[in-house]
Subunit: 437 residues, 2 copies
């Protein structure tokens, strides 16, 4: 494979140099953080009075963690390190959980962020001959403008189509020969279903690649999208607290997401003991932003669960790779005392050929017990009147799920297209259990 690098020197930098660069940038980030009301108190409380108190990378551990809760408490300007008139943009996330988080950027911050996204896109083999349709919400959400800027930086023809309006999306793909799209995995599956439904032939579009992110998804979902649409799907990871997209991305090897360690320091910690874990072990991802001046955030507990690969990547990049996010510490469901991640259910369901492109997890209370109901759309090729086949499929899903999560779920089958589709991040869990029981 012919790998291409946006910034070869940085991407293949020897680890030692990369870590020296991190220390240098971390010193600057600490100095910058000390200009914010929040970190002035938090860091001096931990005995850190200047960036010079950081001598080696292991001094990172002297810095206390920052949580989502801290960000909310610091609203609106507790994390702002520069005069307001130097700010050129803010992005705010309502998040998948809870109240908004606001991140401020100066002009240099936007430029650096754009560079990281361009690096991600270019690393998947895209170049200025590509036509890139950005099928995601523009505005306060970072996914739209973030990918837009990165795509233009690479020199692709960017179509700012935004989310939704599936029929118009096909038309744009056909009219302009779109080769790459960016979307949530659930929207990609929806697009495929709709194409079938409206009789749009695969040959009428030139699509070759998709960047999928903004919601966790399983390897089986990736494979399903790749097979159905006959494209390469690249996994994208980012979060608004760390600018948005451009934090970690798959290269053409598609085996883990390179965390851009010249821009972010990544750690995996045990979410209970808060102790750092060695590479290879799964825990909560903690990120320190090294590439943003206006809103410094140090050792941010992302609540995303992942681990670092320990082997080298065939692409030659030295930046460590994250395993796909399997869930968040706070989207874990406790069902009759058993811990279940929605991603475990997705993995089972999306691996089955007979299953369609959408599913929904519903939780209810039956007396004192929790009841897990998994609603699954059947594939377009399954006849809804073949009850023997349907019962067999239902039983197969139930058994495989039970083997995976130890809970015995109720499985419901639905016709293709019957379950609700969201245009932004998919809502896969409906927890109808009363809150205070």
């Amino acid at each position: 494979m012919n790998f291409q690098y946006w910034n070869s020197e940085i991407e293949k930098m020897p680890r030692q140099d990369l870590e020296a660069l991190q220390v240098k940038k971390l010193k600057a980030a600490v100095d910058q953080a000390l200009k914010t009301p929040f970190y002035k108190e938090r860091l001096t409380g931990a005995g850190i009075k200047s960036g010079d108190d950081i001598k080696t990378l292991s001094d990172l551990r002297k810095i206390p963690y920052t949580t989502k809760h801290d960000l909310r408490d610091g609203f609106p300007y507790g994390f702002l390190s520069i005069p307001k008139e130097e700010v050129v943009r803010l992005h705010a996330s309502s998040g998948t959980t809870g109240a908004p988080t606001t991140i401020y950027f100066n002009a240099g911050d936007i430029k650096r962020w754009t560079g990281y996204v361009a690096r991600c896109i270019y690393g998947t083999g895209c170049n200025k001959t590509d036509v890139f349709q950005n099928m995601i919400t523009y505005g306060l959400f970072t996914g739209g403008l973030g990918f837009h800027q990165g795509g233009e930086e690479v020199g692709m023809l960017v179509i700012p189509s935004g989310s939704g309006n599936t029929t118009r999306q096909f038309r744009l793909m056909q009219d302009f020969g779109t080769t790459v799209v960016h979307a949530t995995p659930s929207f990609l599956l929806h697009v495929e279903s709709k194409m079938k439904e409206e009789g749009v032939s695969r040959d009428s579009i030139k699509l070759r690649k998709a960047f999928a992110g903004a919601e966790p998804y399983s390897e089986d979902t990736r494979r399903r999208i790749e097979e159905l649409l006959k494209i390469d799907v690249y996994n994208s990871y980012g979060l608004s607290e760390m600018n948005g997209p451009g934090v970690a991305f798959e290269c053409q090897c598609k085996s883990g997401l390179h965390l851009w360690e010249d821009g972010y320091i990544g750690e995996i910690i045990d979410p209970d003991t808060l102790e750092p874990l060695p590479d290879g072990q799964t825990g909560e991802l903690v990120l320190t932003c090294l590439c943003r001046e206006a809103t410094p955030i140090l050792r941010y507990r992302t609540r995303d669960l992942s681990s670092f690969y320990t082997d080298a990547c065939a692409c030659g990049r030295t930046h460590r790779r994250l395993r796909r996010i399997t869930g968040r510490t706070d989207d874990m469901l406790i069902i009759n005392g058993v811990n279940v991640f929605p991603s475990q259910i997705e993995e089972v369901v999306m691996a089955m050929k007979e299953v369609g492109n959408n599913y929904l997890i519903v939780l209810e209370k039956e007396g004192v017990l929790d009841r897990l109901i998994v609603k699954v759309e059947v594939g377009a090729n399954v006849f809804m009147d073949d009850s023997r086949l349907l019962n067999a499929l239902k039983e197969k899903i139930r058994k495989t799920l039970q083997a995976m999560i130890t809970i015995n779920p109720k499985v419901e089958l639905h016709e293709s297209g019957a379950l609700p589709v969201s245009e932004g991040k998919a809502k896969r869990v409906q927890d109808n259990r009363p809150k205070d029981v």
Copy 2:
């Protein structure tokens, strides 16, 4: 008044120099246009083989007009003058009338466009201390990204809030001390009504200015928004064929929109004879783009009706000012043989204090005759049970309209908030007459 100029040398350039600059840029634009399939045929057909065939500004008249119809016929690449791989973005407009128009940009085009929008914004007195909430759709529509880019270029804090979600818009204004917004005039009126309805006090927001565009509106609507929200409203003019916003804009004198003549050549023509009209006379605006390489468009018939002011502007800018667009050649309604522009109806309705923030024009067929129904929301301070007062108001509207347009309309009064609100461009006319009678 202290005027400020983004580019003083250009904005106050003596007319003679400005026209020499136009000739120079027009030569280049013609050369660029000759690289497109459409203009290669059209220009050589008119005897123009190179930019050198343009010697003076009056040679412009040798160039045939380009129409919306031509743009559609040239879809998708008939107007593209550069290799596809040099294109970094496209914007497409579904337009207020008819099928999509596509404009391609290279990186330099985006940069130049951004400069013109920044010039507009800065000329209204904004600077980097301002907080700018861009309450308009992002994506394929040029209004969102165009103002976003210009706002960042000026160094304002840009909040990419997008359109809709009125309650969230207030919250953002309150949280971040928004001083300037961009929106359609109808959305601004809707915001004001909603503020009253939800009890949001004017003192809780710091708003000082609004840029209003994307749909024509009357001077009375401007005054109404200014009085209700206690802000300055600046009139913005642009169209996707000429990049989008940034074509013409009001300065702090608010007496006409300076057309940026170093980027665009403006002419007013008689839409019937197609002969150019002298400054001061009203006709169809024809624009030639001098600031875009990827998609050259020469002598484009905008179908917008306007005229040039003949006096100098107090601000010292030498670029001629356009009168606010009073309508489009193609949105003229023919009612029982009489020509009526929706703007004439708006002017009457919005001038009345007793009238609320929304209205709708409905056309129906009664036998062989057209029937004009004007539905008007009453102000929040008018009691809907005071039938004597309501009847008097109805009669007043009816009479004033009849005096203005010679048609006797049926007037209907509705409660505040009862008529439909659109989040993008307002739909003010519902023509229910059968098409082929």
